[in-house]
């Protein structure tokens, strides 16, 4: 069966350190993968998109990698700040599914000062 898995346990990290989140998928052939941030009581906010033929994408303190052999994407927040505390969701789109996003369950990140 198709699955997208993110670590359901919260990630507690000290301010200034790098937070690394994992998104693993099975039985998908994604055309591209997106990462979103969601704060409590709010809708998700788009952060980064990476295509199947891209290995790495960066945006300010954020970095995403995409390994289609391992079927895994890693999301890094460098020099983390308390304001980075939120839930981070990965979502993928397959060519077969058209433009529908399929989301993982999200990982909550708590950055402690």
């Amino acid at each position: 069966s198709q699955k997208i898995e993110q670590n359901s346990e919260a990630l507690n990290i000290q301010e200034g350190k790098t937070a690394t989140l994992t998104c693993n998928y099975t039985n998908y052939s994604p055309a591209y993968l997106q990462w979103y941030r969601q704060d409590p009581g709010r809708g998700p906010v788009f952060l980064l998109l990476i295509r199947e033929n891209e290995k790495e994408k960066r945006k300010e303190r954020l970095k995403v990698t995409f390994d289609t052999t391992l079927k895994q994407s890693l999301f890094h927040i460098t020099a983390s700040q308390p304001a980075d505390s939120a839930t981070y969701l990965c979502a993928l789109v397959t060519k077969a599914a058209g433009n529908k996003l399929t989301f993982g369950g999200g990982t909550r990140v708590l950055v402690k000062p």
């Binding site: 993110q6 997106q34 009581g41 998700p44 998109l49 058209g98 433009n99 529908k100 996003l101 993982g104």
Partner: protein
């Protein structure tokens, strides 16, 4: 500019009643999506509208759920004969076009069925 808006922000209803949830997408966005998010869970796709094409309803959980998009803009998600398991946050998102574009989400409607 204005983002995606949804109304109401909260809705409490009795089991068996019908509810309507509204979504106003960003002006000019041709794609509109509805998702459902249960407590502590990821987003579950419900339905997708793209321009004048027939909507993709493959995510609707039962025939009690339906959605319309009038004039290519505002959308209404209707849940008939609500059940307690329908309690969740219903999120709407719009996108400027199909393909590799990010989705812009509204704040959601929290539905509680008592």
């Amino acid at each position: 500019g204005a983002g995606v808006s949804q109304s109401p922000s909260n809705k409490v209803t009795e089991k068996g009643k019908d509810v309507e949830l509204r979504c106003d997408p960003i002006s000019g966005h041709t794609a509109l999506y509805w998702y459902r998010q249960s407590l502590g869970q990821g987003l579950e796709f419900l339905i997708y509208f793209q321009g004048n094409s027939a909507p993709d309803k493959s995510g609707l959980p039962s025939d009690r759920f339906s959605a319309e998009r009038t004039g290519g803009s505002v959308s209404t998600l209707t849940i008939q004969r609500t059940q307690q398991e329908d309690s969740a946050v219903y999120l709407c998102a719009s996108s400027p076009e199909t393909g590799f574009n990010e989705q812009y989400f509204g704040p959601g409607t929290r539905l509680t069925v008592t």
